[in-house]
Every structure is written in C-alpha cells, then in structure tokens.
C-alpha cells in the first residue's frame, strides 16, 4: 500500500512537472505582455511588469484587436463549418458509393494534397481581382469547401467505423440518401469531424498568407495580419511588449474552442480502435 502511494506520488510529481513545462511558455507570454520592450530584451522573469497599459495603448495605436478577433471569427467559423460538412459529405460519397472513376477522384485528391498553396498565389490573386473579390472574405471562406486533407482523413475514418448494415437498414426504411448522411453518417463520424474541425479552426485562425495578400483595408484585416503590423515599428524593441500582448489576446479564442471541443478529440483517439 505504501509502495503504491509512493508510486502514485512520484507519478503525480512527474505529471505536475510536465504540466508546468507545458504551461510555462504561456505564463511567460502573459508576464511579457505586462513588461516593456527594454525589459523584455534584457531577459525574462516571472514577476509581472508595470507596462500593461503602455502595451495596450501601443497595440491600440496600431489596430483594434477586438475588431481583428471579430474579423477572424467571421472568416474562421464559416470556413471551418463548410470544410467539416462538405468534407464529410465527399468522404462518405467516396467511401460508400461504388461508381466509375471513384478511385480516380480519390487519387486526384491525394495529388492535390501534395501541392503547396503558395504555388498558385499570384494566379489566385488575379482570379479574385477579376471577380472583384479583393477585400472580400469570400475567397477566404468558400474554397475551404474543397479541403483535400480533411476528405482524405474522413474517408479513412468513415470506411473503418461505419457499419454498412446501418445504411442498408435506413434505405429499407425509405430514408433518402441525403437524410441518411445527415442523420446517420454525420453523427457516427462526429469524433473525426470534430477533430478535423478543431484542426481546421486553428489553421483558419492562424492563416496569414492569403488574408495578407487579399485584404488591403485596415478595418477588414484578420488578427494575424493586424498583429504582423506591430513588427513594422522603426524601433522594434519598443514594440516587444505590445507583440506579446497581441499574441496573448489572439490565443484566447483558440483556447476557448479547444476547451469546448477537446473531449471529442480524446474520444476519437479511442473510437475506431476496436473493430466490430
């Protein structure tokens, strides 16, 4: 019994240490958000500084971070939802319907996964420019309907965890194909969709290159683009505190989303591990 307690004690001590190591950078970020640039370049400490107000003023001098958060949400939430829903739809179609060219389409998706997005940047800009979509959120949101990586992941998941008998039963009851997808396939693949959703949300939230190129109005910029402008100060040292503060503000929504949906990630790790 004593041995068990010691073991448990050691284990907890180890876990606390691990947690501390993980949380330390966050703490440092919070502390640095309250210190001045000169203090930050002089080294780190865990004692909060007194420059929070100055940093806040400096951030607001460059941009309104709440406006940036709102803009980012306007882009990231619809993009994530569209990507999750349509990817699941495509994945189900590819996984469960037998038709000519199925494998060919799947193969094409695999190939598109491997092409980096930066390659088509200027072409994409020209397209948006011709369609008068510069400074619009549409080119940031709509293309996420076709996310090759998510389709690939969900297809594998649906094939492995979806009993075909369920779908056949639904068909015999007279359910339409679309109804089957919405009422049966989507709930069953929920863990995988949520996982891809969280990943997608973080990806969209942090997306920098495309909004940086496509958005040219200050009030329409997403948060990462706004934050990058802090680096344009002539004397970069002075803006260090403001940069930390902006980063601290920008992770709050990610933390919220993660806190709400992380339980799905955990369940998806175990789901599918046992095959029926």
């Amino acid at each position: 019994m004593v041995g068990y307690k010691i073991k448990k004690g050691l284990l907890y001590a180890f876990l606390v240490l691990l947690a501390a190591a993980c949380l330390f950078p966050f703490l440092l970020m919070m502390v640095n958000a309250t210190r001045s640039g000169v203090e930050i370049t002089r080294g780190f400490t865990l004692i909060p500084g007194t420059s929070l107000k100055e940093n806040m003023d400096q951030v607001f001098k460059f941009f309104n971070p709440f406006r940036g958060i709102l803009n980012s949400i306007i882009v990231a939430v619809p993009a994530t939802l569209l990507s999750a829903y349509f990817s699941a739809l495509t994945a189900y179609g590819l996984g469960f319907y037998k038709f000519k060219g199925n494998n060919f389409i799947f193969f094409m998706i695999l190939i598109f996964m491997m092409i980096p997005g930066q390659l088509s940047l200027i072409g994409f800009y020209n397209l948006c420019s011709k369609l008068h979509l510069i400074n619009s959120y549409i080119p940031l949101i709509v293309p996420s309907i076709a996310s090759a990586g998510t389709v690939f992941f969900l297809r594998q998941y649906i094939i492995s965890s979806m009993p075909p008998a369920l779908i056949e039963a639904a068909r015999m009851e007279g359910a339409s194909e679309f109804y089957i997808f919405n009422r049966i396939v989507l709930p069953i693949s929920k863990p995988a969709v949520a996982t891809m959703g969280i990943m997608g949300f973080i990806g969209n939230w942090n997306n920098y290159l495309l909004p940086m190129i496509l958005i040219t109005k200050n009030e329409k910029m997403t948060l990462p683009v706004m934050m990058a402008t802090l680096r344009s100060s002539t004397d970069i040292q002075r803006n260090q505190g403001a940069i930390y503060l902006a980063v601290a503000i920008s992770v709050i929504p990610i933390l919220l989303v993660f806190a709400c949906f992380s339980k799905y990630i955990i369940s998806s790790v175990t789901a599918g591990a046992v095959k029926e």
Partner: protein, 464 residues
C-alpha cells in the same frame, strides 16, 4: 447535427461578446493625436483620397499630418516588412490601382524597380528638387537608367558610439575627432582593442560591430564576384578580435549586448558565445545571468557600431551612463536601412501622390516637425540638417549629432551597393564565423563561400 448547432451557438455567443468590445475605428482625425496636436487648425475634407501601403509605422503619422494640413483623406495600410515585397508585387502584377503610395527599403528597391513598381518621379518634376536631399539618398532612389523613382525622408549613416569617460581614461581625450583616429582602419582597431583590454576594458560587445563599415568594395563588379583585399582584411580583424579575447563575446541584440550599454558585464568566453559551453544562457534573465556568470571577470564595453537610428536604441538602454556617450566616424563610411517613398506605377492619382511624397521628403516644416516628433530621427533634407546642426544631444555629452551624421552621409558612395549584397554578405559572415571558431581554415571557408555564391547566383562569374 448537435455538434454543428453547438459550434454555431458558441460562435454566435463569441460574436456577441466581442461586438460589445468593438467600436468603430474613427475615420475622422482626433485633434488630440500627438502627430497633429500642435497644428492650429485642421483642414476640412476636400473629397480627395490617397491610399498608402507602408512597411514603416512612420508613414501613419505623416499621413495624419498630411490629412490635417490639406484635407485629403489618407488611408494608410501598414504591412509587416518581411511580407511587404510579396504583397506589393502580387497586387501590382495583378493590376491593382489602389495603392497610390508605395515604399521600400534600399535592399528591396532593386527588385521593385526591375518589375516597374515605382512611377517615374522625374516626369512629375523631381529633378527641380535635385540637390536639396542628401546625395546618397537621392542616388539610392534612382533606377539603373538614372530615373528618380523614390525618395527617403531620413538618412542612416553608420557611426561608432563610444564611452567618453573610458576614452578620457585610456586615451586621454574624449573628442570625437581624436577618438575616431583609434578606429581609422582595421589594423588600428586591433591595436585599440589590445590597449583597451590591457586597461581592463573591452573594445566591443560583439565582433559584429564593424560590419556596417565593411563595404569599401562592391561585391560584384561587371558580373564578376569581387572578393577584395578589404574583405579579407575584415575577416582577419574579426578573427583576431575573437581569438584574442578582445571583445565581451556578446552576440548582437542578446541580453549582455544590451546590458553592456549601461555598465560592466561579465566577460564571456568564446565557447559560451558559440554555445559549445552551455553553462551560461546568454538569453536568460538578468538575475539568472548574474548568478551563472559569478566569478567571471567583469568589464565595461567601450563602443558599439550602429547606424544613426542607434541613437534611439542607446538612449533607451544606456541607463546611468546617459550623457557619457559620444559618436565618432568608423574606419569607412557605411549605411543601413531607411524608408524610401515613391508612387505606384498603376496609381491613377499620380499628381496628388507626388504632392504627398514632396510633403514627406521635401517640406522643411514637416522635416522640422519630424525631428521633434520622432525624438531624434535624422532627416534627409539638407536645409533642415543645416538648421539643426547646432542641436546638442544630452545623451551623447551634448554632441552636435545632426552635423556629424550629415558629414558621414556625405561620404557614402552608394554605387558600391549591389542587389546581391544581402545574400553574399550573409555567406561571407558565415565564412568568417567558421574561421573564427576554428570550424574550418581560411582556405576552406573561402572555397565554401565561393560554392554558396555559385549556386545562389549562377550568373555571377567567380575566379577562384
């Protein structure tokens, strides 16, 4: 579906909470804004509008001031410097007419000129103003065929910032003219370093301080790589400083480098600096650093080599040594940075844009205001530099810095700058590091340097 609903409700809740914190960014000027607070009246909107894409915060203030003075509405978009060239190129190649004003730093200008980003300022009458701006700045803004395409409001010549009190003790003089003689050329600097070490000081914090003064010869001449004797001498100097324990072994921009501005710092060893010995973390906090370096010899650092914007860096970091500093000339003339303003080739309001460019760069009142507002930036307009030549800077023992910088700027020969400088300079820096730390011999490092240049720029001819 439940997930979707939850996601939606969460998103809506977030939007609601956030919209409470959102207030519209005022398009109107705030008369209290420091950039325009000193103006007596603010001009009424005249219906015109200019769009500025900038990589420097400065133009936001210039924009406000221009709007307040003329009534032209200014939309200034700030873009992170490293992404600025991509952003502008994508937009201009895509036919965007929106930015009227675009800017660039000297190293970006070559590329931007070559794809035709900047409009011809001569066509708008720029040559009427020739001679009013410090010469090298005027030259930097010209393209290969000599057409004026951009102008900067600032100059950025490099100088050696030194401690007057130490100079007095060791050399018996603190006069910038006299102290400059101890930095006259590379061999002299090496001697000076030894003298200072013997007196218990260190000449520099890092061995990169003379980098700003190493461009005596252009890197490329007539399509051929030019590894001049001056470059080899510079390599020898850095290696000698490093191997002879003549610096404080602090990396530029690291904790002890900043610390050295305000007082004594522990003298690190070569191994600590190149991370072979990890007993001391040079990026650690002040307390931790003090603990880790206990027992190491302490010394004060004599000098820093920085461009004119270093005036502000030192001012913020010198602490109690404020007033004890001076600035003298380095072994040769050098410069680094500066924001150049021009007009987009695709702008539909070139005349109005030219008025703004003139406002920022060629207007005496504005330049005068900028000196006060920026708390000591060095402007490029000759008449204003002249008017401020007797201004004394208290941080630098009352030295007349504007006169000094103007003098330094006059010596800069911009024809030595090539578009390859950044990459080739970095490769040469890597070669020097390899030699000084003993990773490779001088011959090996130079061979490797040739290789790097050869595969980065196949068009450059290399004579090995």
């Amino acid at each position: 579906m439940k997930t979707v609903k939850k996601l939606l409700s969460l998103a809506l809740a977030l939007v609601m909470v956030l919209s409470l914190g959102v207030f519209a960014l005022a398009d109107d000027l705030d008369p209290e804004d420091p950039a325009i607070a000193d103006l007596e009246s603010i001009a009424e909107p005249n219906g015109d509008k200019l769009v500025v894409w900038t990589l420097a915060e400065d133009l936001v203030d210039f924009g406000k001031r221009y709007q307040a003075t003329t009534g032209t509405e200014m939309e200034v978009v700030v873009i992170a410097p490293e992404d600025y060239p991509t952003k502008v190129q994508t937009a201009l190649v895509g036919g965007e007419t929106e930015p009227d004003i675009i800017v660039g730093e000297p190293q970006m200008l070559g590329d931007m000129f070559s794809y035709g980003a900047f409009a011809d300022l001569d066509a708008l009458g720029a040559q009427d103003y020739a001679g009013q701006i410090v010469d090298y700045v005027w030259e930097v803004g010209k393209d290969d065929s000599g057409v004026q395409r951009a102008i900067s409001y600032q100059i950025t010549p490099a100088g050696i910032y030194y401690r007057r009190d130490i100079a007095e003790k060791v050399f018996g003089t603190s006069d910038p003219e006299e102290v400059g003689k101890y930095f006259a050329d590379y061999p002299t600097i090496l001697e000076t370093a030894q003298t200072l070490k013997d007196a218990g000081y260190r000449i520099f914090s890092s061995d990169s301080e003379i980098n700003f003064f190493s461009g005596l010869e252009p890197w490329v001449v007539d399509g051929k790589l030019n590894l001049a004797q001056a470059r080899l001498d510079y390599m020898d100097l850095v290696v000698a400083l490093y191997q002879g324990d003549l610096t404080a072994y602090a990396n530029q921009w690291s904790t002890p480098w900043y610390q050295a501005m305000s007082g004594p710092v522990p003298i690190l060893t070569a191994d600590i600096q190149n991370y072979a010995d990890d007993s001391v973390n040079v990026w650690a906090s002040e307390d931790e650093f003090a603990e880790a370096t206990e027992g190491l010899q302490q010394a004060e650092v004599f000098a820093f080599g920085l461009p004119s914007w270093g005036v502000l860096t030192l001012r913020d970091n010198v602490g109690e040594t404020s007033g004890l500093w001076g600035v003298c000339a380095g072994p040769e003339y050098g410069m680094s940075g500066g924001t150049f303003i021009g007009i987009s080739e695709l702008s539909e309001k070139k005349d109005l844009a030219w008025d703004f460019v003139k406002f920022c760069t060629l207007n005496e009142d504005v330049a005068d205001w900028w000196i006060t507002f920026s708390e000591g930036d060095t402007v490029s307009l000759k008449t204003v530099l002249e008017a401020h030549k007797d201004d004394e800077n208290p941080v630098y023992g009352g030295q007349k810095l504007y006169a000094f910088w103007q003098e330094q700027a006059e010596g800069i020969d911009y024809s030595k700058v090539t578009p390859y400088d950044k990459i080739i300079g970095d490769a040469w820096g890597a070669a020097i590091s390899a030699v000084k730390t003993g990773v490779s011999t001088k011959e090996e490092a130079i061979e490797e340097f040739y290789d790097t240049v050869a595969y980065t720029y196949p068009e450059i001819e290399i004579e090995r």
